[in-house]
């Protein structure tokens, strides 16, 4: 569980996070959503320590991250996996070496054991046989999966994903979402995902934090969101007429007003 209270962060005069508090739950996919510039990336970077918040506390399972020394943070970070927007794979290394890197750095396992673990995670992300390929030789979706494999290779307790679906087609996006959701349950991790992908919100949103202008605007899950009357959230999530219709349909389904054939009951 990751709990943060009253997080504030400014860049010069601009206040980007304005007292955000929330709890990211274990074994659930916790989504941070919001329009561009709403502060979600800054929030995630504060949570992993890439930015220092000006005020507020971040608690990782009872341990105060904001008060930790650099050495304590380094130890905690070995329990954190992160999938970056651009995957952030090391260009000069093969897929296998990219995934093996955290094992080389932090474990004393024999080479064979490391390769076995790499193969396990590659199988988990459906990339068996891609060991010897370089990042430049694989597609965007595959890069994301390699990124996930590298993030989970040390069995982390916390997984952070920054825009996991950016630049991917809808089908691949769904596969990545499904994979992240499955891995979260399987490893019982606290997964925090930054996204503005509507599909992700509706499919894997166990715990959603909607941000607007650096503030917490709404929280709930993918079911609650259909019934939300928050204007900003509705404008953001159900931006098009098509999505509005989909929302209304889901609402009717949830209210039991749709029959088995998908027709509205009279």
């Amino acid at each position: 569980m990751i709990e943060f209270t009253n997080l504030k962060k400014s860049f010069g005069e601009k206040l980007v996070l304005d007292g955000v508090s929330h709890v990211m739950e274990t074994g659930k996919t916790n989504l941070i959503i919001g329009t561009s510039g709403s502060g979600k990336t800054v929030l995630q970077k504060c949570l992993v320590g890439l930015f220092e918040p000006d005020e507020g506390e971040i608690i990782y399972d009872g341990k105060n991250f904001t008060e930790m020394t650099q050495d304590e943070r380094k130890l905690l970070r070995q329990q954190i996996g992160m999938l970056f927007q651009g995957s952030a794979l090391f260009d000069s290394m093969t897929v296998q070496d990219n995934i093996k890197f955290p094992l080389d750095m932090f474990t004393k396992d024999a080479h064979a054991a490391k390769i076995k673990r790499v193969d396990e995670v590659l199988e988990r992300v459906n990339l068996v046989g891609s060991n010897k390929k370089f990042p430049s030789e694989i597609s965007g979706g595959m890069k994301k999966r390699v990124g996930i494999a590298r993030a989970i290779v040390l069995n982390p307790k916390y997984l952070f994903c920054d825009e996991p679906n950016s630049g991917l087609d809808p089908q691949t996006s769904m596969l990545i979402d499904k994979l992240i959701a499955e891995i979260t349950k399987e490893y019982n991790m606290t997964t925090v995902i930054n996204t503005h992908d509507m599909n992700s919100v509706m499919e894997i949103g166990d715990n959603i934090l909607y941000m607007k202008n650096g503030k917490k605007e709404w929280t709930g899950n993918s079911k609650d969101i259909i019934f939300s009357d928050n204007q900003g959230l509705n404008e953001f999530i159900f931006a098009s007429e098509f999505l509005q219709d989909a929302k209304n349909m889901r609402k009717l389904e949830a209210q039991g007003k749709v029959d088995q054939n998908g027709d509205i009951k009279k």
């Binding site: 890439l50 650099q70 943070r73 905690l76 651009g86 090391f90 260009d91």
Partner: protein, 245 residues
Amino acid sequence: MNFLSQFGKYILMLKGMFSKPENAKLYWKEFMHQCAEIGVGSLGIVVLISVFMGAVSTVQTSYQLVSPLISKSAIAQIVRDTVILEFAPTLVCIVLAGVIGSKIASELGNMRVSEQIDALEIMGINTKTYLVMPKIVASLITIPMLVVLAMGLGIYGGRLAGSAAGILPVEEFDRGLMENFMPYNVTFALIKAYTFAFIISTISAFFGYYVSGGSLEIGRSSTKSVVVSCVMILLADYALAALLL
């Protein structure tokens, strides 16, 4: 004010490099990789420049020494001292500032922009120790080696040009090399080489490590690192000469 804040950031980067490596074996591997990249990677250009600068020194010195009172072997002495004192350490390091400096700055800059540095930080790795330190140590080891090589090759190039152009025979050149040789000159050149190696590696690492933006900024910071390194080399060259000679 901006200079002071940048300088402070530079000092903090250097200070931040000193931490216990998470895995000594991987750090050693990275250090050896950098030695190969910086040392072996620059070998070709250093050999080429050194031989030609020695050759040109011989030809030009001979052109300027028209007095019949000065022995031809003086050409060898002048070439030797010029190459050891100035050409090998300063000229080679200015070229290396372009070759190595831009390479370090663009490599780190690309890693920063593509979030690879963030990925390493998230894993719990001190990126200053893992990425910057091996580059600086490798530069401090290989650049003086390249400078020593440049000294030898420069003098050899001068010797070669002297005999090829019929300026002075090889025997006379060799005799001139032995006359009035001051070993301190080599020490001075090495002091310069270490100073310049530090300047090249730390400045280019600084500009690369703190790059922000996209590919355009990587190019800009790479150019900036070369310009600043060259200016600092020239300033340090003058300061060292004034202090130590």
